[in-house]
């Protein structure tokens, strides 16, 4: 996605730099999804598990 967006914008980004950015996003997104599972009991009802 990063390479595709850069390419669409005519922005040259070395593959290894794109990989580094993608890895950072993956790491952060994985943490956020785990945090959601920890804090929010049911996203569809938005019930916060931590407060129950």
């Amino acid at each position: 996605l990063i390479r595709a967006f850069a390419q669409g914008a005519g922005h040259a980004i070395p593959p290894e730099e794109a990989e580094t950015l993608a890895a950072a996003v993956e790491r952060v997104a994985a943490h956020v999804l785990a945090a959601e599972a920890e804090l929010v009991a049911d996203p569809s009802t938005f019930a916060p598990a931590y407060l129950s």
Partner: protein, 453 residues
């Protein structure tokens, strides 16, 4: 003029103006002279408004002579970060994308200060589109620290903090998305105020991340911050404080922190305790989610704000903002929604903490301001990228939107400032300001200023 015009507080300067001991023209001339002297070494400004400032000072002087006083800021010089639109004056946001943009109207906050008679000296240096904690800027050059020009002034409002520390203007407006007012305030030894999210008007301010961007104030003392907030109807209350309960967020304080910074932080707490405060450990195991979730929201919203512009003119964007825009492209709506859900629960939990404490206390920065141009630093035995380490203690209040203030609390052995950060509950701005005023009085900083001032 025989007195040091940059030293007085806003209240003292306003008194001097009222008595006729000094004039707005003298104050502005003095500030401009300091700005010219400091610019080659500190690069505080992207645009200095010499002619406009002198003209506004003459107008203020005539008004004051006619008895048309507009309040304590009337005739006092100040600066704004170059992300605030200024009518008839170019507003670059630190970017080549906007290098020729001359807005027709002032940002709302600037218009308020103009109406209060404050005199705008110039537009201060910033990271491109306020993205970055060091005021590195490949288009306009890096900002530098007035305590040691080989070091960064913090960021992204680094030009504002450096100007205030160097005695150029009485205060400055900055913006704070992940700590961009508090971090440079700590790095430059001044006070940095981030109100509750949305507390100060941000219409006419270049956007970085819509749900996080907050306008803030930098000044040399808390009372000066309060005088500026008065213009916006947000000054503090004259309230007596009971025993102050200071919460120590134990999990956050386990994050890597330079031992010298930690020792100065502990010393500041000891001073508060000696003055009668109670320090209580507060466990918030969920607090570790603030940094990643705040980053994810910030990258996603940066992409939303700047993606279209980047697609049209990618060559004009610097590396740091380009990286944020590109990372935002890789975040899904599902992940963004998860981050906002986490934020909602997290904020409720963080509000609950204030049933047992009045403020949370943290170092503002986990390290002293690093040297300019360094990408990685060692913190407690670990090599960490500078951009990842600086905001570790400021993201909490950005994520919750809670008000927070950075107070100078000491100097390292190398002579670089260290800050104490206090966080209050949402909407508790007035009380936090009162608490900050009381704490400032016992921290022993005593208005220290760099030789550059």
């Amino acid at each position: 003029v025989t007195t040091d015009l940059a030293a007085p507080t806003i209240a003292a300067a306003a008194d001097a103006l009222r008595r006729g001991d000094v004039s707005p023209v003298e104050l502005v001339d003095d500030a401009l002279e300091r700005a010219h002297r400091a610019q080659p070494s500190l690069n505080c400004f992207i645009t200095l408004l010499e002619r406009e400032a002198r003209e506004a000072a003459r107008t203020a002087e005539a008004e004051l002579r006619r008895g048309e006083a507009r309040g304590p800021l009337h005739g006092l010089p100040y600066t704004v970060k170059d992300v605030f639109a200024t009518a008839g004056v170019r507003t670059t946001a630190g970017s080549r994308v906007l290098e020729d943009w001359v807005p027709d109207e002032d940002a709302t906050a600037v218009a308020k200060l103009r109406a209060a008679g404050a005199v705008l000296l110039g537009k201060t240096s910033t990271s491109e589109f306020a993205a970055g904690p060091t005021t590195a800027n490949e288009h306009y050059g890096p900002g530098r620290n007035p305590w040691n020009a080989a070091h960064v002034p913090g960021g992204s409002s680094g030009g504002s903090a450096a100007a205030v520390a160097a005695g150029i203007g009485f205060f400055s407006l900055g913006t704070d998305t992940g700590g961009s007012v508090r971090m440079p305030a700590a790095a430059c030894g001044v006070v940095g105020w981030k109100p509750t999210l949305g507390g100060l008007p941000r219409a006419g301010v270049a956007m970085l991340a819509w749900s996080l961007d907050t306008v803030g104030v930098l000044a040399r003392v808390v009372d000066d911050v309060a005088r500026v907030l008065d213009v916006f109807g947000l000054g503090d209350e004259a309230a007596a404080l009971d025993v102050l309960r200071v919460g120590l967020p134990v999990e956050l304080l386990d994050e890597p922190c330079d031992p010298e910074v930690r020792a100065l932080f502990d010393g500041a707490l000891a001073r508060l305790v000696a003055a009668g405060a109670r320090v209580l450990p507060v466990s918030m195991p969920w607090s570790r989610h603030a940094l990643p979730a705040n980053n994810l929201i910030s990258w996603f919203e940066s992409h939303a704000a700047h993606g279209p512009g980047f697609s049209a003119r990618a060559a004009l964007y610097g590396r740091a903002i380009a990286h944020r825009v590109l990372m935002g492209a890789a975040i899904s709506a599902r992940e963004y929604a998860a981050a906002q859900r986490v934020r909602h629960v997290f904020t409720r939990l963080a509000q609950g903490v204030f049933s047992s404490v009045d403020v949370l206390a943290l170092p503002t920065l986990p390290v002293a301001p690093p040297p300019v141009g360094v990408d990685e630093i060692e913190v407690a035995g670990r090599r960490i990228p500078v951009v990842e380490v600086l905001g570790r203690f400021t993201r909490f209040a950005s994520f919750t939107g809670q008000p927070a203030v950075a107070l100078p609390c000491g100097l390292t052995a190398a002579g670089l400032p260290v800050g104490l950060q206090l966080v209050g509950p949402l909407g508790g701005d007035r009380r936090l300001l009162t608490i900050a005023r009381a704490c400032e009085g016992v921290l022993g900083w005593d208005g220290r200023r760099p030789e550059a001032a």
